[in-house]
Amino acid sequence: MIPEAFPEIAWSALAPELVLVFGAVALLLLDVQRKPGVKVLWGTSLVILAIALALGVWQWIAATPDAEPIFGGMLIFDRSAALARLVVLGVSLQAMVAARSLFAHLGNRAAEGLALVLLAAAGFILMAASQNLVMMFLGLEMGSIALYILAGIAGDGVRSDEAALKYLLLGAVASAVFIYGAALVFAGTGSLDLLRVAGFFARNLVLSPAVLLVGIGLLTAGLSFKVAAAPFHVWAPDVYQGAPAGIVGYMAAVAKVGGFAALARVLLSGFESFRPDWAPIVAGIAALSMVVGALMAIISSDIRRLLAYSGVAHAGFILTGLASGAQGSSSVWFYLAVYTVQLVAAFSVVSALGGAVSSGSDLSDYRGLYRRSPFLALVLSVSLLGMAGLPLTTGFVAKLGVFLWAWRGDLEWLVVVAVVASAMAIYLYLRVIVIMYMQSPADDDPVLCDRPTSWALGAATAVTVVLGVFPQPLLKLVESAVYL
């Protein structure tokens, strides 16, 4: 369906992303023209995100399961893409509300930082909504390049530079791997459009799928890098440790949402018929991620490295849901939605405690946090317990969903690995809680966090607990976002 004339474009479907992109430009212009204070810029970015989120909600209501592709088949805003958008915008807002002190530290680079945040969000949303592998690559790069810069934006420290450079170099390799995979898919099917790829398999019998299998493998590897799944995770601890504390949570969360949405679309929409071929690979990556992530996190002495490795383990849990097939994608969405909230909240605490532009946060700094700030200790505990998957938190519901679908998808062995890995993971989260509640602080200085940060943290904690007890609304929501 090559358009003969300029295609008719449903601009309204793109409204949230347009708001983000034009908002980013407006922020930069505002900065050049008026030189407003950081508070104004930060406030403006929050308004932009809020408007985008409101439009996203409107789009969610408007979106239908049988949404039509737009832009000549480049993008499709079906339920899953609309949901990915909500998650990206939601956690971006959560992270930005808590990040005022970061941008205050950045001074005259604040506008650039805020613009990059908005662009990264737009990029990952587009990535999640891409039906065409080239469009997916563009979204990936739009988001990733913004994140590379954000990783080094504080620019005052070897660690931050190292993090940015490492992220850039390894990220570029991953992008190259991805685009090579896309090329092989094109070679094998003659199309980059995932729906047409799927249609190709429906009409044709592929006798020697070697090229396609390599292509799928490369696409999976490239995206696994973005979501930090083992063995493609080695960059994550260094980047999380070196990047400014105020932005790490955001970086990790949006990259994971974009990456998993893309992976789900590639595997479940384009190559569903190859599931017998890719499911064992994805399950293997999942098992490896869960075990390696949990083990490495246990021996980490820096909370950021700990959270990075635990993120590897979480990538494994999410991949477990993905490996179980299209039905299981609802559990992937639930997991992503709740995990990113916990992740951003945890990093907001790290930022409040260690300083927004700091690099590295040794676990010993958390000794007796209970006495220095009961609120932050509580928030971090709830987030960690959520990640541990303790009942009455969203993390439990998320894990249960993944396990249920994986068991239904005949991946019993993977569920057993997963439950054992989650039991191991409990220990590592518990270790932090022990440090916070059962050890004496080095000094008794109270830790203060600004008011917006406490709102964001309070909201995240409430979401983790309330949706953990009554997950029904979110469960219904994600059920409609299944690839069918």
Binding site: W407, V415, S422, A423, Q472, K476
Partner: protein, 514 residues
């Protein structure tokens, strides 16, 4: 009413947490007063319970997480009845002896009330996922109680406790998921369900039963704790504050035996019958091992802790005897052990508060300055040994009578456990309360205060009541126990040996007691 029973302690926790932290004198009395509410409700439940009914009573069901078929479903039968009542009794008493908790008292009371909700919920849950949620959530307050308010090695003990039980419950979760998915594949509408009653209708292949039984049994065996999974127990007990030890021994360990009885026997009858030898041997090893290790303990609290391993071995033996008397004995011994060991831990705690030591060698001749304390200790020690007329006798006798027809050899070995119990208990009593009275601190040791007496007296009264009139509990448990045996006999070619069923043995047994 059951929902109310589960939620009143939680409500109490909320109320206590609203009291400002600086009004420290208010927290404990308020917590105690609030824990009397569930006790009242549990009493009402106990006496409105229809003793002739085998199935679940007072069932309440509300759909909770609809897409996955999870429901808030509570119900009580003869198996859970006694445990709920015991839990409700032990909480106000444990809070009453927690004066020695000096720091973060408010958090302590909140954790305790939270724990009570979890425990009662676990015993009443009829939805497997709800059960799991309660089962797992209990770990947090218990972990805090050990880890924050415990002894010197509290953090080590708390982490060990948490890790052991978390590993056990991980596989339990996998098994529960397997059952729910099995339900989806065996019903025409293909819906997941965690409803215990619905899962009972599943047709599970023998191989699958073995695996699932294993996963359930491992989780519960760690909780009991069954030899060789018991190593977390002495650490946790010794480091926990008195209230923590009382609840750990009195109620938490019973989650394991309750789980075996409630889920393993009914959901996987075939696996149960074929795995009886394994579990029964482990139980007997636990009886003897726990008792022998208890004898040589220099630490009084550790002695009581190891005696739990031995006593709970009896409970597990009774369960896997698969006879009416054995199961009845297991159910009532669950309650008995909670009363007597709970009281013994209270007494050890009272000694510790006075002398700040638990080493048996530091004591001696205490019966002279503290006759009342010595009296209670001896009474509870006798109950624990199984002196006729006290509750321990009823339980252990029923277990032995019940298991002899099916497992004669093991029963003979297990009977030595009673003898060993007499050795470690009486020897401990002798070394602590009799003999020469040495040291100024021992000489001027204060006897029980009025409050301490008031805490111990109800337990002593219940010990006597259940010893003289066990029927008050047994008649309520009998139909449920029979139903379990009926189910096993229907689903397997197992037949309870003669005299194995209620009609054969129960009447004679109760005549013997009186």
């Amino acid at each position: 009413m059951l929902t109310l029973l589960v939620l009143t302690p939680l409500l109490g926790a909320v109320v206590v947490s609203l009291v400002p932290a600086r009004r420290r004198e208010l927290h404990l009395p308020l917590g105690m007063a609030l824990s009397v509410a569930p006790l009242g409700l549990a009493g009402a439940m106990f006496f409105s319970f229809d003793a002739g009914e085998a199935s679940f009573q007072m069932v309440e069901k509300v759909v909770w997480w609809e897409p996955w078929g999870v429901s808030w479903q509570l119900g009580v039968d003869g198996i859970s009845l006694g445990m709920v009542a015991l839990t409700a009794i032990l909480f106000p008493l444990s809070l009453a002896v927690s004066d020695s908790i000096s720091h973060r008292r408010k958090a302590f009371v909140v954790a305790m009330l939270f724990l009570e909700t979890g425990l009662i919920g676990t015993f009443l849950a009829l939805d497997l996922l709800l059960f799991f949620v309660f089962f797992e959530v209990i770990l947090v307050p218990m972990y805090l109680i050990i880890g924050v308010w415990g002894g010197k090695r509290r953090v080590y003990a708390a982490v060990k406790f948490f890790i052991y039980t978390a590993f056990g419950s991980a596989l339990l979760l996998a098994a529960i998921i397997a059952l729910a998915v099995m339900h989806a594949s065996q019903t025409p509408d293909g819906l997941l369900s965690f409803d215990y009653l619905a899962l009972l209708t599943l047709d599970i292949s023998p191989t699958a039963q073995m695996w699932l039984f294993g996963a359930f049994a491992l989780a519960f065996a760690i909780k009991v704790p069954l030899f060789p999974f018991h190593t977390w127990l002495p650490d946790a007990h010794v480091e926990a504050p008195t209230a923590g030890s009382v609840l750990l021994a009195g109620v938490l360990l019973k989650l394991g035996t309750y789980g075996l009885l409630r889920f393993n026997l009914t959901l996987f009858p075939e696996a149960t019958v074929s795995l009886v030898p394994v579990l029964a041997v482990l139980a007997v090893v636990g009886i003897i091992y726990g008792a022998v290790v208890a004898i040589v303990q220099p630490d009084l609290k550790k002695l009581v802790a190891y005696s739990s391993v031995s006593h709970l071995g009896f409970v597990v033996l009774g369960i896997f005897a698969l006879t009416s008397a054995g199961l009845q004995g297991a159910v009532i011994q669950n309650v008995n052990h909670g009363l007597t060991t709970g009281a013994l831990f209270l007494l050890v705690g009272m000694l510790y508060d006075r002398r700040h030591t638990k080493q048996i060698s530091d004591f001696g001749g205490l019966a002279t300055p503290a006759p009342l304390m010595a009296g209670f200790f001896l009474f509870m020690a006798f109950a624990s040994i199984g002196l006729p007329g006290l509750n321990g006798f009823v339980g252990e006798f029923l277990v032995l009578v019940g298991s002899f027809p099916s497992l004669p050899g093991l029963t003979v070995v297990a009977a030595f456990g009673v003898v060993l119990a007499a050795i470690y208990m009486l020897w401990a009593y002798q070394r602590v309360f009799t003999g020469p009275l040495e040291g100024a601190e021992n000489r001027k040791l204060a006897d029980l205060s009025a409050k301490e007496t008031a805490v111990l007296a109800p337990l002593a009264a219940l010990v006597l009541l259940l010893g003289l009139y066990p029927g008050i509990l047994l008649e309520r448990t009998a139909p449920s126990v029979e139903a379990i045996l009926d189910r096993i006999e229907q689903h397997t070619d197992y037949e309870a040996p003669e005299p194995g069923r209620l009609a054969d043995v129960f009447n004679t047994a109760s005549e013997d007691e009186s």
